[in-house]
Symmetry: D2
Subunit: 360 residues, 4 copies
Amino acid sequence: MASNTFGELFRLTTFGESHGPAVGGIIDGCPAGLAVDKQRIQYELNRRKPGQSRFTTPRKESDEIQLLSGVFEGHTTGTPIAFSIVNKNQNPKDYSHLKDTYRPSHADYTYEKKYGRRDYRGGGRSSARETIARVVGGVFGRLVLDRFNTVIQAYVSSIGDVSLDKSYNELDLSTVESNFVRCPDTPTAEKMMNHIDEVKEMGDTLGGVITCVIKNPPLALGEPVFDKFHADLAKAVMSINAVKGFEYGSGFSAAKMRGTQHNDRFYVEDDKLRTQTNYSGGIQGGITNGEDIYFNVAFKPIATLMQKQKSVSRDGTDVSIEGKGRHDVTVIPRAVPIVEAMSSLVLTDHLLRQKAHDLL
Amino acid sequence: MASNTFGELFRLTTFGESHGPAVGGIIDGCPAGLAVDKQRIQYELNRRKPGQSRFTTPRKESDEIQLLSGVFEGHTTGTPIAFSIVNKNQNPKDYSHLKDTYRPSHADYTYEKKYGRRDYRGGGRSSARETIARVVGGVFGRLVLDRFNTVIQAYVSSIGDVSLDKSYNELDLSTVESNFVRCPDTPTAEKMMNHIDEVKEMGDTLGGVITCVIKNPPLALGEPVFDKFHADLAKAVMSINAVKGFEYGSGFSAAKMRGTQHNDRFYVEDDKLRTQTNYSGGIQGGITNGEDIYFNVAFKPIATLMQKQKSVSRDGTDVSIEGKGRHDVTVIPRAVPIVEAMSSLVLTDHLLRQKAHDLL
Amino acid sequence: MASNTFGELFRLTTFGESHGPAVGGIIDGCPAGLAVDKQRIQYELNRRKPGQSRFTTPRKESDEIQLLSGVFEGHTTGTPIAFSIVNKNQNPKDYSHLKDTYRPSHADYTYEKKYGRRDYRGGGRSSARETIARVVGGVFGRLVLDRFNTVIQAYVSSIGDVSLDKSYNELDLSTVESNFVRCPDTPTAEKMMNHIDEVKEMGDTLGGVITCVIKNPPLALGEPVFDKFHADLAKAVMSINAVKGFEYGSGFSAAKMRGTQHNDRFYVEDDKLRTQTNYSGGIQGGITNGEDIYFNVAFKPIATLMQKQKSVSRDGTDVSIEGKGRHDVTVIPRAVPIVEAMSSLVLTDHLLRQKAHDLL
Amino acid sequence: MASNTFGELFRLTTFGESHGPAVGGIIDGCPAGLAVDKQRIQYELNRRKPGQSRFTTPRKESDEIQLLSGVFEGHTTGTPIAFSIVNKNQNPKDYSHLKDTYRPSHADYTYEKKYGRRDYRGGGRSSARETIARVVGGVFGRLVLDRFNTVIQAYVSSIGDVSLDKSYNELDLSTVESNFVRCPDTPTAEKMMNHIDEVKEMGDTLGGVITCVIKNPPLALGEPVFDKFHADLAKAVMSINAVKGFEYGSGFSAAKMRGTQHNDRFYVEDDKLRTQTNYSGGIQGGITNGEDIYFNVAFKPIATLMQKQKSVSRDGTDVSIEGKGRHDVTVIPRAVPIVEAMSSLVLTDHLLRQKAHDLL
């Protein structure tokens, strides 16, 4: 059956189609007593919102959250937190041309085969609008993580041909929000923006890579042998639309390294065990060791193009389609808060799981 | 809590430490009426067994399976299938030197922090010996997949510096078992073997990449928005020891492609919708579209070295450790059946999930 | 963690406090292609609504459902179905007297101990208003069950001292809705209504028993050894507020029977195996055998009384409390659709689970 | 799919047919650091063993447990604890007469309809032999509960026509093991034993009721709205073979009580909130309030009779069957440790769930 629930103990269940009445979700298992900061939720929703810059679609979506339950006198009560965001820009007529047509590299064909029918308006459930609920869930997770001083920060490390050639610890991550592409290195950010402008002219689209860093993660999170911390993290980010790859710590480059290079030697600092290098990416044997967790997420280019493409309709006829309205050249900058949100959900869920375990 | 169960409807729960009495598991939810082929189980167990070649450890492990339940008159009965493989080579004394020492880039330190204690003999639960149960589970999955003519085949596409520069459809995958490194290209296989020999001399170890191909997968598998087919696949293989990265279809290379290049154009063949290219890797919107599924899995080099390494003990003292007995230079060839097994579990579980869904 | 999700494959997640903005839920895993009948939902919501008669509270609650997702062009799409019912009668001031006081045999004290705080307005999450979402979920289940001609019908078989002394197959269950107490036997119904009137005068409250019958249930539902059909049914109805006991088939009377009396002898009717008696209640070994399923559910009397009661406040001081506004003497008649709804959820979930299983 | 796993965080997965190679299970999520007492496991296994007295079957089953994993140096390690008990008395020929016959009120017919085939030897998976694994799981739960001084004690409160007419707090529960029927009241126990003797002569069988008391339960266990403590308890005991009913606290008698009688008034004792009566059975709103938890479980009479019964075979032919070997007249005394075991699993699971929740 469809699975729209993420997490074991800190659980987010989401709902909503791009052009239905609303999108939203229910967070079940959120600890009681957390002060809810609605502005912080709105801030994160704005980060993922289209129309933030010249590089993203200018459709005005005012994603205003309504909290329906689980919060009383400004604090979480331990009961399920439901929330809803109304879909304001419903123009169902815009999408009638998609009713019988499958767009290339979209979910049109597979949804129809799976469910026998589909809401063809704007991608329906397969629309990235679904990620709104993830972002909200992530903020509630951060309320828990704040108590442990755990900080999650993602940024754009490549867009199309332009890549950032610095490691995360050579960068000032506090500058991520200082430019539209969310790249914490001004010269690279400039190149990325120029690259996007060029490609936009061509009616084409771009993919890219997001790097995410978790500083001061709690020790001992992760549940071998199947729910290793990085395995759950991989699933979490791979479930975001358009993601094609995940690597943590040394990642794919580990395949070319020798054991003598790759092993992270221990040392003692302030009575705490640390490692001199961190190819392990903060995770050993599937369990966090207290060092920084970092990982990369690869996104494919957007499938909707501002130029004619050939495709086929339900009855097998050749058709020609073209994106209507105005679409993004790339989703990468907007995906930054989504990657952070999914990381927040994984961290919080594993924190509660470890807490249950640590009984005695 | 520790999670040693994988899958929702076709569920494998595993147990066992490397030097405890046995390893094994329970498969719950296996459909009734499947003819059980014990030789096929043994064949797959032999594929992952150490001591298959000069490149792998010569410890003799005779991993003979005992079926304890769920099979009657040669067929599955729908009740849980328990199995056990006795650990014959128990030499606990070999491991006393590890009692108080944390090996670099192993799970020693994190297990101890998580559980307050650990079975230090041969890595205990974190040993790769745990994967035996995965391989057995995978064979039962294949019994189901056989009915759909779905075939899973993995192979080694790189070891250390030597990479195979051909795509899976340029290779004859039936030759994978023809050499010790499980690389279906003789010249590359030779280079890999020489590379391993060299590195063995140096007492060092190697990582690598495994590519896995699923031919003729059932259509419509995958459960958006969180249990997308590739998300569950990512989690499945990331949970294998030493895995650092996962990518499917175009993978990380998608980040550098344009939408015009990356979109897979539809066409009709024999009344069936197909795609001309397959950058999507057989999955669109998290649901299988019937095309081949293919993905890469990156492994780090083995952490146990046949040379002295510096580390620390529980009380923070500097110590020097060195692998005892004989250890592999690389696990990549032996990991091929494990990657296949995890793929089998994901496919079978999603097949049942889709079956439940397709009610009307 | 709090668990507000019911079901494995057909899953209902609920939210909402009695005096928060809304109550509602998400149904995940509902098969696609079902025609949604909003009037039927409203009909069931009206059945559980307060103010249906002189016996139930006259508070006007217009429980109007909003469908937020998962339905397109009048049919389910296979994606999550979210729904919300606004709480219109929010009078938070009415409840300030409960802020520091624990009502006897309510959840006030235990919620506060569990979560450290509570929404004291009208019972918050522990209010029976929560059951609205169960009723909605149950209707979607019935859309599936309709395809199998499975019919669920519950009725009131006792209220306080008045009991119906007929078995379900001596009654015309089509008359259940013909009186306010939902008892399909007019003389008994009259007695019940008089009994309620008497007890109302006294400011006291009544418990009772609901009997539920499932006609034409699908064969082979139930998942031994833990998820036996009746075990999941027991959990489902025991989770309804105020329920104290569950028995199916012969129930507690079986404890006094002999094997020779209790065994249901098989016979063949129209090439189908049937049983002459049905002490098994349609379930053998935890699996439905196709005969009628029937069970009884015992409810305690309402804890809120229209007379003074002694209790204690948070600081241990003795206090005196009395129900404000107008409250029911008994919930039994209104609980009939809730018992049916929970039965519907269990049946539908197990139907999908069996479908997944029946692969080959 | 078949579900042979019980619990969310403290999880028991069981396997085994009565005449297969072994029965056993895996406990996943058991906290690390518990001293394992094998004698205590054996003691509980002996309590459920057949052949304990003249009232139970004299088949000699030496149920000796083998621990396969998860225990190191006498303590749990936090990894899965697998265990196996070999089936020694395998006489498959004894059961050939059942191959094509469905016994009345057994699971023969329904298992065959569900799975398409069945292991007909001694009931296969539906045999009560399956409960061995529950008893083992329950002991591990008790190792956790010991830390909280929580004590579980069940006893037989009725067999056939003979009932104990005292409440649990009028009895000395330490005397439960002093007689074969596990009834802590000598005169009643004598009557029960005589009753059994009589019925045995007649080749007939008896049902009965078990009462279970949990003293000093942890406060605040239970997860509304669906996983209320008593709802999970109901499911747990209803999943035991032959159980037909469950009631807790006032149970079915609550249906006849008035609110003024039934409400449990609070008072303060040693700075702790207590209730003067305990009709709530230690649970309010689905959450434990610290008072004793008590409940009744009704069992049907054994379906296998030591006299001829009519039944039908697979092809619809009338057949006559009769129990072979020697069978129990009643399972009630032997079911006492099983009811305790299931209670232990529920308590421990909810303890861990509450622990996870109580984060801040």
